[in-house]
């Protein structure tokens, strides 16, 4: 498009004619036409551009902003982290949005002294001095409080301090406080599980798809509460260092209760019961799960496994077979003796009810090292349990080269081999459920999908062990565990405590493994007390029969009705012929 230089639309003003309008020249007409064409072309280009803009906006409205609400930004009541419930749907852990009060000290507009006083009135759990220290901190950001109630948050908001902010953040709540604390575990500030179920099922609980449905555990809060309460009372009475307890369904392997004392409040896992914070120096081990992580020599409760192995391998064909328990056994410089020495030959039921170490050791010699080890292996005693929680102890036992005759004898009555209380409970479940080993589980199992299990003992052996266990409660060391009508069987165990690889004189670990009802076994109850000191209630005794058996009695009395086991004084297992007349007369 041609134009005359100096006469275009952008020509300097000085170049324009100043004088009166001159007659239109032919060149000016051409120029005006060119300008009109330029403007027309500009408009022609502008309209498609506008159309494109409108189209883009329409696409934006229809495609991007017009998406259904559920697909674009999920509006959902699903918690940020999955709930945890017990086998009956009772909440054990849940997440909800709570208020966190934060402050940016450098931006404070009011007097920190006055503000600290007002905040301390609203937040009674914090002292004024603590709050003042946060308000005058040189850091840019401090938490004043977390998990604050809505009412408190509103009062703080009404203070009108712009440097204080109320943030909504996901908080994990454990409504039952210390109940099953070690089993449930807790999470950190970022919502990541650190121990227990929270850690073991971190992916499941945090998964956006799966977290809408709660994670159902096998625990029963009623059973858990009963056991935790009874064991806590026992620990206090005995001034003991701790306790552990398990209740397990023998037919499914589900763990209904898992108690470890001392315990802690998972809502404030860094805080001790007295309000002080844990440090590396003052950790009392309350976050340590003794049930799965504590390795103990469990003493005479192991004798049941020795007898079952002898029955199963055929070295014991008759329960009336007698073993020499007339005097202590001297082996390799060690002396094996009986706590309740009868100093005579004993039948197998007598060995069991009098808890004869000598008789059991002689039985184990007949079984032999290889078969003993084989059955312990099949019972899962020589490896960490197949269990969901990650806090699992590895059993301690002699190497094959050191597993000689002495080890065979001592292991037969529960010395020289450390296992966890959960190992013991699962072993007893295997003994009494007909002989099937199933890995224990803390997840609720569908009755139709219970693992079939691996056979370790025959039904016949299982029945014989049940009769022996009942005999201990009716005639032996476990009499105080007997609850009329519930047909309780069980075995006591007392062993010296091991610390730093050495036996500690005068400190015992006492335990009791019970099963009920013995005529149709459903539940195993294992309780262990760490270093009982004796009390008036136990007449100063510190044995399992005096300390733990009464607690087992109370626990079964409390949990059996809840579990649907009704007392029936008209039913019992047949114990006829188990004890010779002489032994029965001694009773």
């Amino acid at each position: 498009m041609a134009s005359i230089p100096g006469t275009g639309p952008f020509a300097p003003a000085a170049a324009a004619p100043v004088a009166a309008p001159a007659p239109a020249l032919a060149g000016e007409r051409v120029t005006a036409r060119a300008q009109a064409r330029q403007r027309l072309a500009f408009l022609i280009m502008l309209f498609p551009l506008l159309a494109l803009l409108i189209l883009a906006r329409l696409i934006d409205l229809a495609v991007i902003e017009g998406q259904p609400a559920g697909e674009a930004a999920p509006i959902s009541a699903a918690p940020p982290r999955g709930d945890i419930v017990d086998r009956n749907g009772v909440e054990l852990a849940r997440t909800f949005e709570a208020y966190a009060i934060t402050v940016m000290p450098r931006r404070l507009t009011s007097d920190p002294e006055v503000l600290a006083t007002k905040l301390a009135e609203i937040l009674p759990e914090r002292s004024r001095e603590d709050i003042l220290a946060d308000l005058t901190s040189r850091r840019s950001f401090r938490y004043l409080a977390r998990k604050v109630l809505p009412g408190q948050a509103q009062r703080i908001n009404e203070l009108g301090e712009p440097a204080i902010e109320l943030a909504r953040e996901a908080e994990r709540l454990y409504p039952n406080m210390n109940l099953a604390a070690q089993a449930l575990g807790y999470t950190n500030d970022q919502g990541k599980g650190l121990i227990g179920v929270e850690k073991a099922f971190q992916e499941r609980l945090a998964d956006p798809v799966q977290r809408a449905a709660p994670l159902a555990l096998s625990l029963d809060v009623r059973v858990q509460q009963a056991m935790q309460n009874e064991l806590a009372a026992l620990v206090t009475d005995q001034n003991a260092k701790g306790a552990a307890g398990v209740v397990m369904d023998v037919n499914t392997g589900e763990v209904l209760a898992m108690v470890s004392l001392p315990d802690f409040n998972p809502n404030a896992p860094g805080q001790r019961a007295d309000g002080t914070r844990y440090t590396t120096d003052n950790d009392d081990g309350s976050r340590f799960n003794r049930v799965t992580l504590g390795g103990y020599e469990l003493g005479s409760t192991f004798k049941a496994f020795t007898i079952a192995t002898a029955l199963e391998t055929g070295t014991l064909t008759n329960l009336q077979k007698q073993y020499d328990a007339t005097r202590p056994l001297e082996v390799a410089g060690f002396r094996i003796r009986d706590d309740h020495a009868k100093n005579r030959w004993l039948t197998v039921p007598e060995i069991f009810i009098y808890s004869s170490n000598i008789g059991t050791a002689r039985m184990a010699i007949e079984v032999g090292r290889e078969r003993q080890r084989d059955y312990l292996e099949r019972l899962g005693f020589l490896k960490p349990l197949e269990f969901e929680l990650q806090e699992k102890a590895r059993p301690q036992y002699p190497s094959l080269s050191n597993w000689g005759q002495l080890a065979t004898m001592t292991i037969s009555y529960g010395h020289g081999l450390t296992v966890t209380p959960l190992h013991l409970a699962n072993g007893y479940a295997t003994l009494v459920n007909g002989g099937l080993y199933r890995p224990p589980s803390i997840l609720k199992r569908d009755p139709a999908n219970v693992p079939p299990g691996t056979r370790v003992f025959s039904e016949r052996t299982s029945q014989e062990i049940l009769r022996l266990l009942r005999l201990v409660v009716t005639n032996g060391t476990g009499r105080k565990a007997d609850v009329p009508g519930y047909r309780v069987g069980g075995k006591t165990g007392t062993a010296e405590k091991i610390e730093n690889g050495r036996y500690v004189r005068g400190q015992n670990v006492v335990n009791f493994a019970a099963v009920f009802p013995v005529d149709a076994p459903r539940y195993v109850v294992v309780a262990m007390i760490d270093d009982p000191r004796g009390s008036k209630a136990t007449y100063g005794f510190r044995t399992a029969g005096m300390v733990v058996a009464p607690a087992i009695n109370r626990i079964i009395r409390r949990i059996a009705p809840a579990l649907g086991v009704l007392p029936d004084p008209a039913r019992d297992i047949n114990l006829a012929g188990m004890l010779p007349a002489k032994a029965a007369a001694e009773e």
Partner: protein, 186 residues
């Protein structure tokens, strides 16, 4: 009608028709958008309510948690687990509690003499075994283990090992007695 007029009217018709269609579509679109917003608001309200319900449930569970109930029981109620005799075995046993009015009349005070004579009321109380009999059925394996070498596994059998009383269901004895050994024995 002239061609020009027809074209003119046709143009007007198209303009009016198009405007009407556009206006109608706009109304539908507006109403759909309004409905959608209402549904979204409802969904948000539902979610908010669910979240609120969760918060209230959490508070309720915390306040009525088992440890809290245990503390209440220890401090105030002091209830204990039921004894064996307190748990009924059958509806028949429950019916035994429905005593006749005369049986429910309060008994007079027991008169006790300073000199104890043989055959006082306490001593004459019939032992439980004398009130009736019922078989105790046990499920167990035969006792071959006790008698001889190991035999092949046998099926469980039942046997009668004792005779214990059944509760007397007569109206004069409304409370059935526990027949097993009492707690704390042995």
């Amino acid at each position: 009608m002239r061609l020009g007029t027809r074209q003119y009217l046709s143009g007007i018709f198209w303009i009016v028709g198009t405007t009407a269609v556009v206006a109608g579509a706009q109304v539908v679109t507006t109403r759909a958008a309004a409905e959608r917003r209402a549904v979204t608001r409802l969904n948000i309200a539902l979610v908010e309510n669910k979240v609120r319900i969760r918060e209230l449930e959490a508070e309720l569970r915390t306040r009525a948690g088992l440890p809290e109930l245990q503390r209440w029981n220890d401090a105030v109620f002091q209830l204990s687990a039921p004894q064996t005799g307190q748990i009924l075995q059958s509806p028949v046993q429950l019916a035994a509690y429905a005593a006749r009015p005369e049986a429910a009349a309060p008994a007079g005070p027991a008169v006790r003499y300073a000199l104890v004579e043989k055959g006082t009321q306490d001593e004459l109380a019939p032992p439980p075994a004398a009130t009736g009999g019922a078989r105790v059925v046990t499920a167990s394996y035969p006792t071959a283990m006790n008698a001889g070498p190991a035999a092949a596994p046998a099926a469980p059998t039942t046997s009668t090992i004792a005779v214990v009383p059944l509760p007397d269901l007569s109206p004069d004895l409304p409370e059935p007695k526990a027949t097993g050994p009492q707690d704390g024995e042995g």
